[in-house]
Subunit: 340 residues, 2 copies
Amino acid sequence: MPLPEEVKKRLIAARRKRLLTAGEYVSGIEKGDRFILSRAITLVESTKEEHRALAREIISKCLSLSGNAFRVGITGVPGVGKSTFIESLGKHVIAGGSKLAVLTIDPTSNVTGGSILGDKTRMEELSADERAFIRPSPAGDSLGGVARKTREVMILCEAAGFDTIFVETVGVGQSETAVHSMTDFFLLLLLPGGGDELQGIKRGIVEMADAIAVNKADAQPAAAKEAKRAYRNAVHLFPAKESGWPVRTFLCSALQREGLDKIWQELRRYRSQSKENGYFELKRRTQALYWFEETIQERLGHAFRKHPAVANKMPELADAVVAGQITPFEAADDLLKLFL
Amino acid sequence: MPLPEEVKKRLIAARRKRLLTAGEYVSGIEKGDRFILSRAITLVESTKEEHRALAREIISKCLSLSGNAFRVGITGVPGVGKSTFIESLGKHVIAGGSKLAVLTIDPTSNVTGGSILGDKTRMEELSADERAFIRPSPAGDSLGGVARKTREVMILCEAAGFDTIFVETVGVGQSETAVHSMTDFFLLLLLPGGGDELQGIKRGIVEMADAIAVNKADAQPAAAKEAKRAYRNAVHLFPAKESGWPVRTFLCSALQREGLDKIWQELRRYRSQSKENGYFELKRRTQALYWFEETIQERLGHAFRKHPAVANKMPELADAVVAGQITPFEAADDLLKLFL
């Protein structure tokens, strides 16, 4: 006999108050308990040291349960229809039997006071589906911090049995490099047209893409076809990817749910092919080392800048560098002497 | 009455032996004495601490005399004809009344034991001309080191009155980012054809270019025109440059000395336009801060990796990261605790 709603609510409220042990978190996550998963993610995002310590323990225990999902980065300028695309593709993916987690990276969210991506209600159908889990961008004081948290949330989601992870990013800042460095496949969404919509995209992002999808092809079919043709030719001109994977260009309409099956097929084809030739695993390992290096660099730099003597001298030297009164190398040496 | 050759030779030999003072170096450089300039550059390249100290003093005194040259980065895959191009364009430039210094960055040179770029004899006519100064790549134990030395050599050349600096790089490694970050204009040389020659070029380099020149247009006119058309279209599709400068594509034949005047006009047009709208100065300042930051990061990282406890623990942790036994963030924290 199921518990009465009244009792359930009280139990949940009690559980909410008590801080679970790391073991309880992990066993809940492993069972796919979304409530416990959410609470664990909140710990990852917390700035309190006791929460961070608990989060580290949970992540450490979840590590061996993680790594099995297919991680897909999705980017595009505002207005390209990312939310609709993710909702449509997401529904397609879960209809195929997958469990999908959607994470977002949006380092602007704590600057503007509200995330431009992290609006859970935008993906209404997907967020109502129990096979999907949507989590907005964690706030952070640096891109590195946001990236770390997103990677840790990814580990928790994978341990909870999500086999497909979408990481959404806004495509105008530096977060794409971070997302590119934590996903297996990087999908770029573009609008129909002759390239003007790229004015808002950072240079270098197009070359990161493993596939390009021109969205809103229903509204502007001719312009979409023209864009597809142009990007196909352009991509062909650019240097081959390290993976050897040929970047293809697709048309779709997320709103009409057209063309998404072909895109998902392409992603699956990439996954099986790169797993077969070993590139999938190689990329994962390279990414892990990349974050190892990046984290060391970021924290070394942070400790350096926070050092009182360095912090005191830095502005003066930076001004002298900009004014051309001292070489950047000489100035760096002067500062390092204060620290090392 | 001029000194007899015999006496001159003895004086020069004596001067060669004696280490000049920083003031003597600077006054020689300021007078455009190529012999003294060369010796100062040798000091910059030296690994001996006494030489480095003297070099620092010279550079420091030369700083106020530098910064007035137009700095042009030139890159392209091996076989594209960079040397011939630089010789031809260089002769065009000095015929217009300029004084030209050609520097090369080739971080592979101390790996292979010989520079693939730094062969002074390749540019025979230019190296015989007193209005030009050609200096092969300084060796270095890191790209950062090579970049620093090249930037310092640039300062000395500018103080010696060279108003145009070409920095040549091979286009297949990471040195392009370095060259891009120390020059005002970045020129990419390509071969005729449909993009296959880009297979050897690193991704991201095409987007760095401020102009593209398809060389060897005399040998394959149809393929060159086709390449020009294709790149023009492709470049148009890619995001606008921060400078707002529209990237144009040119045809040339360095061997036949055709099309070089148009390319040089384009470069001069960029210089005057970007000086007018302030981007020229802004970029210079941004570059100085970039090298300040880069140098700090590089040397912090170096000190970190050389730290005995870190060096001892690093391989084990890196292995654990790659094996997925520990998150990159956790491993980085563990290492940092040994250092900070």
